[in-house]
């Protein structure tokens, strides 16, 4: 019997000792992970893993990339997992947010205004989509799928018409630019001086932002009245409606947050990487994989899924670039085989 299958009460009855046990286990794991990162490496390890700098950078990049994937996928998991609305235009929302953020930043000269514009514009579009499209197709998965695929194709061509095919790069403001030195020694020079790892500051900020948003989302869903209404609406909308709550309003809010997060991720991601046609499909695919691996409708699940996929992509890219793409899908296939509902999904 695996731990996840145990009834909740069993865990709670002897909770303290078990919790302490877990804490110890996690500390041990953390120490094992931290040791190779902070300690200097012997030559043989450097030879196997190219160099300490390459390995630690790949891990760091994987974690920060996971932050970006989480931002996109958390919106997707809200809409797809909680509301059972299949929105395959989610990638288009990401790309549109990026383009809008770019144009607004160019126009106003302030990056933060661009980020806000990306979120707000897409939240508005999300509400429109919920009112115009999804409200009419409630409970009809197949039609939702087809209609949203249609929307994504039309949106891709419209964006190509407006912004053209060239690659845009959002310039980050000065205070986010440059690299920071981390207290991680990657090598020692012949004169004994230690070489520290440098890492782009912007990526660390994206990661911090993703963590803050993730925690806020989880708190909102699990600890607030609105979150309670959302969860109630998913389980039994008729009963929620009967108790005097405007269900349509609740779902419109969820959709707005989901789409707004995609737009926000677009601007943030477009500053770290770049904006070009085709990004929509890429992030839709990434969100799908993250949500399938992590479990539908679960915010912690999206975080775990994003972490796995981000790390797999970066480590694959450095150590076996030709077959690195496969790694992501191996993770997905293994998850589907062992836990079809996803790592944190409800069975």
């Amino acid at each position: 019997m695996s731990l996840a299958d145990q009834p909740k009460s069993a865990i709670e009855s002897n909770g303290l000792s078990r919790r302490q046990g877990f804490l110890l286990l996690w500390l041990l794991v953390a120490a094992l992970v931290a040791l190779p990162i902070f300690a200097p490496w012997p030559a043989w390890l450097n030879a196997v893993l190219i160099s300490k700098k390459a390995f630690v950078s790949a891990i760091m990049n994987g974690i920060t990339l996971a932050g970006l994937y989480f931002l996109v996928a958390s919106g997707f998991t809200l809409v797809f997992g909680l509301m059972r609305n299949v929105n395959l235009a989610h990638g288009s929302l990401y790309l549109l947010g990026a383009y809008i953020g770019y144009s607004v930043t160019q126009w106003t000269g302030y990056w933060l205004v661009g980020v806000a514009a990306g979120f707000l514009a897409l939240a508005l579009i999300g509400i429109l989509m919920q009112v115009i499209v999804f409200r009419r197709l409630e409970g009809d998965d197949l039609r939702q799928t087809l209609v949203t695929i249609g929307i994504s194709i039309v949106a891709a061509d419209l964006m190509l018409a407006v912004w053209g095919g060239q690659t845009y790069q959002l310039a980050t403001p000065e205070w986010l630019d440059g690299a920071v030195t981390l207290p991680i020694i990657t090598a020692t020079r012949s004169n004994g001086a230690a070489v520290f790892l440098t890492f782009p500051l912007y990526r660390l900020v994206v990661l911090a932002g993703a963590i803050v948003i993730g925690v806020a989302l989880w708190l909102m869903l699990n600890r607030t009245r609105v979150g309670m209404m959302i969860r109630a609406g998913v389980d039994d909308r008729a009963m929620l409606s009967a108790s005097g709550v405007n269900v349509h309003m609740v779902f419109a809010i969820v959709f707005a947050i989901g789409a707004g997060l995609a737009g926000f991720a677009g601007v943030v991601g477009g500053s770290a990487l770049s904006i070009a046609p085709g990004e929509d499909v890429r992030y839709l695919l990434a969100s799908l994989v993250v949500v399938i691996v992590g479990g539908m409708g679960s915010i912690p699940g999206a975080a775990i899924g994003a972490l796995l996929i981000g790390l797999a992509e970066q480590i694959g890219l450095v150590y076996f670039p030709t077959y690195g793409v496969v790694l992501t899908f191996v993770i997905m296939v293994v998850t589907l085989a062992i836990r079809p509902q996803g790592i944190m999904g409800r069975g």
Binding site: I50, S51, K53, A54, S57, A58, N61, G62, L65, L160, G164, G165, Q166, T167, Y168, Q169, L170, A171, D177, G178, A179, A187, T198, P200, Y202, R203, L273, S274, A276, P277, G278, R282, E313, Q314, I315, L317, V318, P321, T322, G324, V325
Partner: protein, 415 residues
């Protein structure tokens, strides 16, 4: 009777759909298929390729051999199967007998293989530049007037070693046939001069996040050779700048092309001063090049200076038009006369004399360049030196060149 009539109608409709072959012969227009990447990561490149082809057709007044030119466009996304699909559509549905394209390396090899199944159709390359499109197992009906990626590197390896003083270089390139060819061309000279290449990174095409790849590059190399195209190049260069990279760069032909130099962002800082080589140079002041730039700029959406894709499509289209003119659009007998004329075409292009070798691959001048900032702030490839009439074996006797083996991830090697 009624059924009979309906059957006749159906037959007539069916004929109408399959008619292009007939209409072609009767009409006074000639259909030319134009295959380029109008979707996917190389969209900008494909659009500029089209501008190049249209420049050549514009110069001819839209007429060739007394017939009006009708362009039928096919779109691919830089993957070989999409290129073959688009080529099949152009040949088998639209009935074109002359096809110009494709754009990207692997596409070229795939279309060359498809060409073997369509002996009645003449294929003329767009800008694809993998070596094995024409060098190993070539197709009788595939012609490439725009040279290959190894030829484009002529002069660069020697220049990097002797003039720039780089002794060790790491390479970062996309993982397919064209960058293999480019790295081969660079290393052929660089290793011969005495240089070492201790580390080669091959990344999947369309990769966005290069920070881990950048971190894996050894710290002790003198320079980094980058052969990435379009959005991939923009991403790499920006992230290289962000990560505080300090090693100087050496550019593959499409890495410092106008399609990348016109991108917005901070990548400009790391690009200025980057040496490269390719079939064009923006500051070439030969009258023929200047005239070509003027013609090119008449196309909608043109860059400040034509990209090498515009140039390659222009050269190939121009050669096709010269041969078509010579045979008065005679494409009978599987285009036999046209092909014979095409094999003999030798003309003065905007970048000097172009002719074909026995494998139907181009021999042309190559330009050694360096990225510099123009008077109006645009980035340009400044001409350093012209390497005249480079052939596909890079001046090495063919049997010796063949013995070097097919280009791949591991060939050549000089670590």
């Amino acid at each position: 009777m009624k059924i009979h009539r309906r059957a006749l109608l159906a037959l007539a409709v069916a004929t109408a759909f399959t008619a292009p072959g007939f209409a072609f012969a009767a009409d006074d227009t000639i259909k030319i298929g134009l295959l380029a990447t109008f979707e996917g990561p190389f969209t900008v490149l494909g659009e500029d390729g089209e501008r190049g082809a249209m420049t050549a057709i514009g110069e001819a007044g839209g007429m060739v051999g007394g017939k009006k030119i009708e362009i039928v466009k096919g779109s691919s996304d830089a993957s070989p199967d999409s290129a073959v699909r688009a080529a099949r559509k152009l040949v088998e549905q639209d009935g074109v007998k002359v096809l110009i394209g494709p754009l990207s390396g692997d596409e070229g090899i795939a279309v060359k293989d498809y060409a073997k199944t369509q002996p009645g159709v003449t294929f003329i390359n767009g800008s694809s530049a993998a070596q094995d499109t024409t060098f190993r197992d070539p197709a009788e009906n595939f012609f490439r007037f725009s040279t290959d990626g190894a030829q484009w590197m002529a002069g660069l390896g020697t220049y990097a070693y002797n003039d720039k003083g780089y002794k060790t270089v790491a390479t970062v390139a996309e993982d397919y046939s064209f960058p293999y060819t480019q790295v081969f061309g660079f290393m052929a000279e660089f290793c011969k001069a005495g240089g070492k290449v201790p580390s080669k990174s091959w990344v999947p095409i369309g990769n966005k996040d290069y920070s881990s790849v950048i971190a894996a590059i050894p710290d002790n190399v003198d320079a980094i050779y980058v052969a990435l195209g379009g959005a991939d190049a923009v991403n790499f260069l920006t992230q290289y700048q962000q990560s505080g990279g300090s090693a100087p760069l050496i550019g593959g032909s499409i890495t410092v092309d106008q399609t990348v130099l016109t991108a917005q962002g901070k990548l400009r800082d790391v690009l200025v001063g980057t040496p490269s080589a390719g079939p064009t140079a923006d500051t070439n002041d030969a009258p023929a090049w200047k005239a070509f730039v003027e013609e090119y700029k008449k196309q909608p959406g043109a860059f400040p200076s034509p990209s090498l894709f515009a140039h390659a499509y222009y050269v190939n289209t121009k050669a096709a038009l010269i041969a078509l003119d010579e045979v008065k659009d005679d494409l009978s007998d599987g285009g036999k006369a046209f092909r014979e004329a095409l094999a003999k075409v030798s003309f003065d292009s905007p970048t000097g004399k172009v002719s074909l070798d026995a494998n139907r691959n181009g021999i042309a001048d190559i330009f050694l360049t360096e990225v510099s900032e123009g008077a109006d702030g645009t980035l340009l490839n400044k001409l350093i030196k012209v390497v005249p009439q480079v052939n596909q074996t890079l001046g090495i006797p063919e049997d010796q060149f063949r013995a070097l083996g097919a280009v791949s991830r591991d060939n050549p090697s000089c670590s």
